[in-house]
Symmetry: C2
Subunit: 331 residues, 2 copies
């Protein structure tokens, strides 16, 4: 900028204003400045600009696992919304580790990101994380995981409804002994479990404790949990898996045991990961609009970032949608 100013014999301020098409600069000077800037291949220094403007156009996205198709989709949705507005995304993999997450959040805050989207790994109770953010007055939106008893912006799915929908569907397909492979000890997992129980109760069906296995989140976990279920005296004839990877692992176990899906055991998952259709048996699932969750969270965040006063926290719950494929189709 200094160079441009010197070359043109104008002041630094004139250049600064011209470059940002500020109103009070004559058309002609502006053109000259822009011209020279192009010649010198000048690009404004965003670090300096951020410092004085107190705005970095950086948004932090903290998720537990990039490789999980759900979060990759969320990230894509977030980007789709934010990039056209000039923001860039700093991504952090917390690896399901609360300590890592905490450190990353502090770093992001120290970097003065304009906002944060967080799928917290420490969702189970620990609220310290959120305190930090509030103290620093960084606008933030939680996704997917909502620590109990906090009020904050949140975008997620209706877990109880997911569990109910999946279980109802299995009942509908004629399953009489329905099992569940549950997720890790998180609110999501509890919600889906609750939905599962509720649906069974509504139909006057039993839900023996031994039919609920797991506490897992990936295909390896689903595989071994399913093996436990298969070892029961009277194994289930329908299983609702916490998520699609778990359900996929379950299918693998069933087939390995020489049984058929869905004829002997019907299986349904949740999440509609993009490769569900390509699995051993195309997997029925409850879709939770992952990309849309990302977009909605980003939209909410933009509102917060643009508002002078922090607006009232909002909750957006995306309704689930049943996707029936071969793994549960019995009639």
């Amino acid at each position: 900028m200094k160079d441009i100013a010197a070359d043109l014999g104008v002041s630094l301020m004139t250049v600064s204003k011209a470059l940002r098409s500020h109103s009070d600069i004559s058309e002609e000077t502006r053109k000259r400045v822009l011209q020279r800037a192009r010649e010198l291949n000048y690009q404004p220094n965003w670090v300096a600009r951020s410092l004085v403007m107190r705005k970095t156009y950086l948004v932090g996205l903290v998720i537990p696992d990039l490789m999980h198709s759900f979060f990759a989709e969320v990230a894509t949705g977030v980007a789709r919304k934010l990039v056209p507005l000039g923001y860039q995304i700093v991504i952090s993999n917390s690896d399901e580790d609360a300590a890592v997450e905490q450190r990353q959040l502090e770093l992001l805050a120290a970097r003065n990101v304009d906002g944060l989207i967080l799928a917290s790994a420490s969702a189970n109770g620990r609220k310290a994380v959120l305190e930090t953010l509030r103290m620093r007055e960084v606008p933030f939106v939680l996704i997917d995981r909502m620590p109990p008893g906090v009020t904050a912006n949140y975008v997620g799915s209706r877990d109880e409804e997911i569990g109910q929908m999946a279980t109802e569907h299995l009942i509908d397909q004629g399953c009489r002994r329905i099992g569940h492979i549950r997720g890790p000890a998180t609110p999501n997992s509890h919600g889906r479990l609750r939905g599962y129980r509720k649906a069974l109760a509504a139909h006057g069906m039993a839900s023996p404790d031994e039919y609920v296995a797991g506490g897992v989140r990936d295909d390896a976990g689903g595989y071994s949990a399913m093996r436990e279920l298969l070892a029961l005296e009277n194994p289930p004839d329908g299983v609702f898996g916490y998520n699609d990877p778990v359900a996929a692992g379950a299918i693998k176990a069933v087939l390995e045991a020489g049984l058929r899906v869905p004829q002997d055991i019907a299986i349904i998952g949740a999440g509609n990961v993009h490769y569900s259709d390509l699995l051993r048996v195309p997997l029925s699932t409850v879709d939770q609009s992952s990309a849309y969750i990302g977009e909605a969270a980003a939209g909410l965040l933009v509102e917060c970032m643009e508002a002078k006063q922090p607006p009232e926290p909002k909750r957006i719950l995306v309704p689930p949608r049943l996707v029936v494929r071969e793994s549960s189709r019995r009639r």
Copy 2:
């Protein structure tokens, strides 16, 4: 910082040095400063620090598609290497669009990222992108896609070897009419095709043009390309798909046609996406160590960022590894 200094009756400089455990500060003052900093919940402002230090601890990662399991793995590898060193990652989805990519790169440069890792969407010929980076003197490492005729840091896989390995394997399994579903017009795709041809030639087998279909990169593309192959008078009995999604789509088409995999048609892909084992028929593949590619690229980048003089460009080619699963096991 000003507050801490005032509270303690020392100068701003003393605080600054104490906080960074600079050597020439008495143990005692340091402790007092640290103490007060904790009380006030002080966090250094990285924007200001970046401005004066000319170092942001930000690394840009530009990839064509986060949802593609390969790039998600690469990103994970990059993070695993860089985060412990205090860097954070700004991620950019170019969506396979050269213009978007160009704009994002310029933004990242303007942000003064310390380095860049780039899987370029404009790999086919256009070198303008790289010129930009060199002009700005941002250290960068290319991954996965190498524009022809440039010398730059590069980490990727040996595509020709991948093609050869896959094809040899099919030959080995007794396939006599081997087809290929090729990828889009990129160096990678050409390399794999070349490897395919080379392997056939080495065994004195024909590679009729009609056996090479596609120009696709995802499962939908693989599906329709396979249907073309199946419509031939004398369809192949073994198919090498450009990547795993393509191969998975091909399997779907074969099964739908009432044929068996691998008995009627053996299929192999490349990339070893993490769900390969869960597909309709567990998919044989050529592993290209995606996460390792990310780590290696990050390592190379760190070298460049830390060097005073830009070091000689290096090329790292990760050797492929055959992973045999059911989709190609015929004996």
